[in-house]
Subunit: 338 residues, 2 copies
C-alpha cells in the first residue's frame, strides 16, 4: 500500500498524512494520532526509496573494512555499538569490504556519487591519511575513529593511546622491569605511533633506552602474539615484561611463554590493551591480566552519536573527543624476579 491509497482510505490528503507521519508540527494532534494509529492498523509504511529520493537523504551511514579478513573481533564490537546507536534514529549501516587502499578510495567515491550514504565512518587512520583528504574534497561527511592530521578540522573520537601505553610502561618500570617488550599494531596508523611514543616517553622517564629488538608489531591476533613473543624469548637477553596491543595478542603471548616453560605473570609480566570483549575477560584468564581498558563498543556508540549530530548540522570541530584509558592492575604484573 502506498501513500496515496493509504491517505484516501482514511480520508485525508497525502500531504497531511506525510506531515503527520514525519512528525511535522503543523498537524493537529488528533489528526496525527489518527494517522499513526491507522498506519499501524493497516500496516502502512512509507517506501524508503521514495522518501530518500524526495528528501535527498540516504538514511544510511557507510563503513568500509579493508580486507574482509580483517573484519575481526575488534570490528564486530565496534559495529555492535555503532548499530545500537544508529538504530535509534532509524539510520542503516552499510557495510562494504574491500581488499586494497585503492579499492577503499573507489568505494568512497562510489558511495558519495551515488548518494548511497549520508556519511561515512573512517577507522584506523594513518598520520596523514589520504582518505580524509578525499572525503573532505568529496564533501561527504565523516567521523574518524582515531586521529590524524589534516588542514581542515574533522569529527573524530580517539582514545588516549599515548597515555595508555605510557602508564602501562611506567607501571612495569616501577615494578623493576628493565627489559619491557612491546607488541604494537600496524605502525603506519596513528594509534600505533601514539602508543609507541607513549612507550618511549615512559621508558625515558625511568632512564631506559628503547631497544628495537623489543619492539615488534603485527595484526592483533593470537597467532601473531605467539610468534612475536617466541622471538622475544629467543633473544640473548629476553624481556621480563611484555605489553600487548590487544587481548588477542596477549593470549598468544601467554601461550608462547608457557610453551617456553615459563610462567606468565611470574617469569614474564603481561599488560594488554583491552578493548573489552564480552567473551574474553582478562579477569578470567590465569593469571588475571593487567590491562589498559577502553571499551571499543562504547566508542562505536559514541561515534554513531557524533555522526547523527554531524548530519543535524553540528560543526566537525565541535565533534572531537579523546577518551582517557584506565590502567587496571591485576595479577599478571608482578615485581621483576631478583
Amino acid at each position: 500500500m502506498n501513500l496515496k491509497e493509504f491517505a484516501s482510505r482514511i480520508g485525508l490528503s497525502a500531504t497531511t498524512v506525510s506531515r503527520a507521519m514525519s512528525g511535522y508540527p503543523e498537524v493537529r494532534p488528533e489528526t496525527r494520532a489518527r494517522v499513526l494509529e491507522a498506519a499501524e492498523t493497516l500496516g502502512y509504511r512509507p517506501n524508503i526509496s521514495a522518501q530518500r529520493l524526495a528528501t535527498g537523504r540516504a538514511g544510511a551511514i557507510g563503513i568500509v573494512f579493508q580486507g574482509g579478513g580483517r573484519f575481526g573481533p575488534h570490528s564486530s564490537e565496534f559495529m555492535g555499538g555503532l548499530s545500537t546507536r544508529l538504530q535509534r534514529d532509524g539510520i542503516d549501516i552499510l557495510v562494504s569490504t574491500v581488499e586494497t587502499e585503492e579499492e577503499e578510495i573507489a568505494a568512497y567515491r562510489r558511495l558519495a556519487a551515488s548518494k548511497r550514504v549520508d556519511a561515512v565512518i573512517l577507522h584506523t587512520p594513518t598520520c596523514r591519511d589520504k582518505r580524509i583528504a578525499l572525503l573532505q574534497t568529496l564533501g561527504l561527511p565523516f567521523v574518524v575513529h582515531g586521529r590524524s592530521e589534516a588542514k581542515k578540522p574533522f569529527a573524530f573520537l580517539d582514545i588516549d593511546n599515548f597515555g595508555a601505553i605510557a602508564e602501562a610502561t611506567r607501571h612495569l618500570a616501577v615494578l623493576g622491569h628493565r627489559r619491557i617488550a612491546f607488541i604494537n599494531g600496524d605502525t603506519a596508523s596513528t594509534f600505533a605511533r601514539d602508543r609507541q611514543d607513549g612507550y618511549c616517553a615512559a621508558l625515558a622517564e625511568h632512564g631506559l633506552t628503547p631497544d628495537s629488538t623489543l619492539m615488534s608489531h603485527g595484526e592483533f591476533t593470537d597467532e601473531t602474539g605467539f610468534r612475536l613473543t617466541q622471538c622475544f624469548l629467543g633473544l640473548p637477553s629476553p624481556p621480563t615484561a611484555i605489553i600487548a596491543g590487544s587481548m588477542m595478542s596477549a593470549l598468544g603471548a601467554m601461550r608462547a611463554i608457557r610453551v617456553a616453560g615459563l610462567s606468565p605473570g611470574t617469569d614474564v609480566a603481561i599488560v594488554a590493551h583491552d578493548d573489552v570483549f564480552p567473551y574474553l575477560s582478562p579477569e578470567n584468564l590465569v593469571p588475571a591480566v593487567t590491562t589498559t581498558q577502553s571499551p571499543i563498543r562504547a566508542a562505536g556508540e559514541r561515534i554513531g552519536d557524533m555522526a547523527v549530530r554531524l548530519l543535524q548540522g553540528e560543526e566537525p570541530d565541535s565533534l572531537q573527543e579523546v577518551w582517557p584509558v584506565e590502567l587496571i592492575v591485576r595479577d599478571s604484573t608482578r615485581p621483576v624476579l631478583a
Copy 2:
C-alpha cells in the same frame, strides 16, 4: 550531476544512457563504451534512491542480530563472508540489532513494509521458528543459516551438526573415554538439538548412557566455557573428555582444567567445534586442539550467493545445502588414562 545533465552533456538521451549503464543489450557497443567512459571521466553515478524507486528493488539485504551484545566473533566472521560475496553484485548489507524476539519480528515487518531490503538472512533458527513463518507470510525472501521445519520449503544452508558431534563423540569413545561432557549452545536452536542428538547417538553406539550432569549449555564464550567446565570438574565423577561447541568455549574449558591443576589433553581430552577464526587457530594452542571444522566465513559467502540467486528467481527448494564437517584430530584428544 544527474542523468539528465549527464546525458545532455554527452549528447544522448537519458534513456540511452540509462540503458547503456545498466548493461542492457539493445545499445550499440560503441555507444555503451562512450557512455561508460564519459561517466568515469565526468564522475556520473546514478542516484541510488531514484534507481531503487524506479525499479522497485532495494539493492540491499538485511540481517538482524538479537542482542547487540551477541554480535560476537561468530557473527563477524559470517558477515565478512557475506559482505565479500554481496559486494560482487553491488548489494548492500543492512545491519540491525534488536534486544528481544518481538523487536526482531517488528524489525522484519518494518523492513518488509518500507521495502528497505530485498531479502533477509535469518540465523540460529529454532526447530519451529516463528520468524520463518512470518517472513513467508510477508513474502519477504530469505535465506536461513541453519535448519528448521516449516510447511513451505525455504532456502537454507546448514552444516552437519549431528554428524560433527557424533564423530567427535565416537572419536573420544574409541579412545576409551566413558565420561564425555558436552558444552552445547542455546538448546532452543536447531543446531544445538542436532548436536545433542549426534552426541547421544554416538554414545549409544558405544553402549554409553547420556548423563545429564555432563550436558551443559550456554553462550559460546570463554567465560561460559570456564564456568561450565569448573562445574564438570567438581562432579564426584568428573569427565575425562569435553566436547566444546566453539573454540571460545574451549579456551575457557582449558583454562578451567589448568586452574584445577590438571593438564588439558592429557588429563581431560578436548574436542572443539571450530568455526575457523583467523585469529585463533587450534593448531597454535597448547596442546593443539582436535576440532570439528567448518568455516563460518565460507558459509557467509555461500549464503550471500544463495540470496543473490533467490532474487534472480531461483526457487527456494533448489537452494538448500548441508555442508559436511571434518574432524581434525590433533593433540588434545589422547587415550583415556588407565
